[in-house]
């Protein structure tokens, strides 16, 4: 911890609170781990004694980010990432809450494992951590987990991680049962048979590289199936990572029907496209794969309009051995928790999206969907707050990243804007100097 919990006054800030659709120049006072007030002209006079006063000089003050999809290797893959290292990376990226994924070893499919993760996080992590639990035992897609007990133990949602539940009957029952507990089911929508041996987006570019493609329909067909099952079961459903306009069409229809269907997109799919694979860059090998430029642009518009609810990092640390391989043999995944806001600012600077809707998708919406605190600057909310310099130019050197693995697609990228302070529960856990 860089500092204690003395009160903090952030002055001369551009305060953005997506939970109340506020965007104004003003001050924010934090004390006792909660937000006291956010308004114009609090002034140094009216604050408690000993308050740390920070002149933000026009920088953005916003709710801390909630990363709804991040892989942390604990338990079982601590060489890739621990809760401690993930939380350091998160803090440096402005993420004050990590939603970790259950595809660990063993999988998070029992209440005791949820408890283990929560205790490890309490002892080692500098940001909040909430695990998702497995939807099916051992992520096998066959039998549902103890959804009620897992939720009571602290699981905020249920997912089989990067695996799809191919058996529609299993999916239907899980959705139906989960609805009794108002549990959110998060699903990776990719039909593994249609994916087949595919390793990147299907199309001319893959064909030229001699790589087999993954069709967009592998995703959209699965999403379509799920939406029909939600109509049948009435559960709360969230598509984990959608990538193309065809899926947006399905999502729009589901929302128009009033179904409880929401979706995320990863920051990678919003800021990169298939051309970034270039000459077989394995750091750009992702699941689902990076799509074409028009798909990327459609995703960004859907974030701006709110059709896609959440932007997440899909943080997936992979060590050198799994990535220093021919493209088809390399394991998919990229780290991103530390760079997701910075990468998102690219879109803001390019005029593709405004900052408030981007922040809403990275903080307010995930808090609402998961039913957790945070994502708001409303007085009384937990003091999970970030200060962002949206303009400072810098070049990313992956050696500087705090994650244990360095598989970032943004190595040597020229970036503009970064998090300069991260406050979790009133404590400053990261400061960029």
């Amino acid at each position: 911890m860089l500092s204690d919990r003395r009160p903090i006054l952030l002055t001369n800030a551009r305060i953005i609170d997506p939970s109340r659709e506020l965007d104004f120049a003003g001050d924010l006072l934090i004390a006792d781990g909660v937000i006291r007030e956010a308004k114009r002209g609090i002034g140094a006079a009216g604050v408690p004694e000993g308050t740390e006063i920070v002149d933000c000089r026009g920088k953005v003050v916003a709710p801390g980010l909630i990363d709804m999809r991040a892989f942390v290797g604990e338990p079982g893959a601590e060489h890739r990432e621990t809760l401690a290292s993930a939380s350091q990376a998160a803090a440096a990226g402005g993420v004050t809450t990590i939603i970790c994924q259950p595809d660990t070893n063993p999988a998070i499919d029992e209440p005791a494992t949820v408890d283990f993760v929560l205790r490890r996080a309490r002892d080692t992590a500098i940001v909040h951590v909430h695990p998702m639990a497995a939807l099916t035992k051992g992520l096998q897609g066959k039998e549902m987990t103890e959804i009620g007990l897992l939720k009571a133990a602290g699981a905020v949602a249920f997912t089989d991680g990067a695996k799809s539940v191919t058996n529609a009957q299993v999916m239907r029952r899980a959705l139906t049962y989960a609805s009794d507990f108002d549990a959110l089911v998060v699903h990776h929508t990719e039909d593994p048979n249609l994916v087949g041996e595919g390793v990147m987006n299907e199309g001319e570019f893959a064909a030229r590289l001699g790589l087999l493609g993954v069709p967009k329909m592998a995703e959209t067909i699965m999403l379509e199936r799920d939406v029909r099952l939600v109509a049948l079961s009435g559960g709360r459903y969230h598509a984990a990572s959608i990538t193309c306009p065809e899926s947006l069409e399905v999502l729009q229809r589901a929302k128009d029907l009033g179904l409880s269907v929401t979706a995320s997109a990863s920051i990678n799919h919003m800021t990169l496209n298939e051309v970034d694979v270039g000459s077989y860059r394995t750091f750009c090998k992702l699941s689902p794969p990076l799509r074409a430029e028009e798909d990327r642009a459609a995703l960004v518009s859907a974030i701006a309009s709110g059709l896609i609810d959440v932007v997440m990092s899909d943080h997936d640390p992979q060590d050198v051995e799994t990535k220093r391989q021919p493209f088809a043999d390399a394991v998919p995944g990229a780290i991103g928790i530390e760079t997701m806001l910075t990468a998102g600012l690219r879109l803001v600077h390019n005029g593709e999206i405004d900052l408030p809707p981007l922040l809403r998708a990275m903080s307010t919406r995930p808090a609402e969907l998961l039913g957790i605190a945070g994502g708001s600057l409303r007085p009384g909310s937990p003091a999970d707050v970030i200060v962002v310099d949206t303009d400072v130019p810098w070049v990313l050197d992956r050696a500087d990243l705090k994650s244990k693995c360095k598989n970032t697609p943004f190595d040597e990228a020229r970036l503009q804007g970064r998090v300069v302070r991260t406050v979790v529960a009133g404590r400053t856990v990261y400061e960029y100097v």
């Binding site: 064909a207 030229r208 001699g210 077989y280 051995e321 391989q325």
Partner: protein
């Protein structure tokens, strides 16, 4: 008869990883140089000394008889010390990564590495880790540049030109590195390229490769000057991509009847090894219009030309 070397063509790249990236002039330079080696290879005395002192390692992660033999002969005729390593006897089987293998071999100071690998892009990945020249002897479904060069040499010697010819490539385009390299090369030299295949064996987006796409042999072969047949892997003809080898042969196999759709002087090529009765009928493969044996001969000459042209660019110190 001693043949004096006339071409002083130098390939100003460190590696030959694909046809993509070669200019038209570079392709022609290689073909002209190869012509000289064709003559040399027909002599009793076939030995040159231009690669004397150089070490060439043929690193084959995928089994190959003819390509490996062709590169071995080419290197030896130019005076290089040639070593063959194939996956069956290498530590790749013990879990060593491609990059570790590259680093290990590099420490032995090979001047030239000839590499074949089952994964697209693997040869390029390896090339980044070594100091010598790397020649791609086939990577996945990506490229097989020396095959395209030897095909071009064979065509040019028989037709006197490549520009303006209609070349039809038939069969498993989806999985074929030979098709990709040939499409790029033939386009660069001004041929009209067609592909014919069932839709399951066509890569999505192939129509943007600069080819005309056909699903019917009669249309695709009509007025063709050159017919290139591709090998169909056994595991792809049992219902996964085509229903059976019989059905494939019925619609896409090159029989004498289908050959008659092409120009009367059309010539037939195949990169080998052939599946007789699957993609090509024996009577066509062994017939008067077949260039298949000549392709093998041209293979050695083209590989000598590539080795020679790359080695002229190697450091001499």
């Amino acid at each position: 008869m001693n043949i004096a070397q006339k071409s002083s063509f130098v390939l100003s790249h460190r590696h030959l990883l694909g046809i993509e990236g070669l200019s038209r002039d570079e392709i022609i330079g290689l073909l002209d140089l190869a012509e000289e080696f064709v003559d040399l290879n027909r002599q009793i005395e076939k030995k040159r000394t231009s690669l004397r002192g150089r070490t060439q390692i043929n690193l084959f992660f995928e089994v190959s008889t003819r390509t490996q033999a062709s590169f071995e002969l080419a290197g030896k005729r130019l005076g290089a010390d040639v070593m063959n390593m194939s996956v069956g006897s290498s530590s790749m089987r013990k879990g060593e990564t491609l990059i570790d293998t590259a680093i290990t071999l590099n420490a032995m100071h090979p001047d030239i590495l000839v590499v074949r690998h089952h994964a697209s892009g693997a040869v390029e990945l390896l090339a980044r880790k070594v100091d010598g020249s790397v020649i791609n002897a086939g990577d996945g479904a990506h490229e097989h540049p020396t095959q395209a060069l030897l095909d071009a040499l064979t065509i040019r010697r028989n037709k006197g030109r490549i520009e303006g010819l209609t070349v039809t490539i038939c069969g498993d385009i989806l999985h074929s590195r030979v098709a990709r390299s040939n499409i790029i090369l033939l386009n660069a030299l001004g041929a009209r390229v067609r592909v014919v295949a069932p839709s399951t064996l066509l890569p999505p987006g192939v129509e943007r490769f600069g080819v005309e796409v056909f699903r019917d042999m009669r249309e695709g072969l009509s007025d063709a000057d050159i017919i290139m047949m591709l090998r169909l892997q056994r595991e792809r003809m049992n219902g996964s991509f085509v229903p059976s080898s019989q059905e494939f042969f019925h619609y896409f196999g090159l029989s004498e009847k289908k050959l008659a759709y092409a120009k009367p002087d059309a010539l037939v090529m195949h990169p080998g090894p052939m599946n007789r009765g699957v993609e090509i009928d024996s009577s066509v493969a062994d017939g008067a219009q077949s260039l298949i044996r000549e392709q093998v001969e041209m293979g050695v000459a083209v590989r000598m030309a590539v080795l020679e042209a790359l080695s002229r660019n190697l450091p001499n110190a």
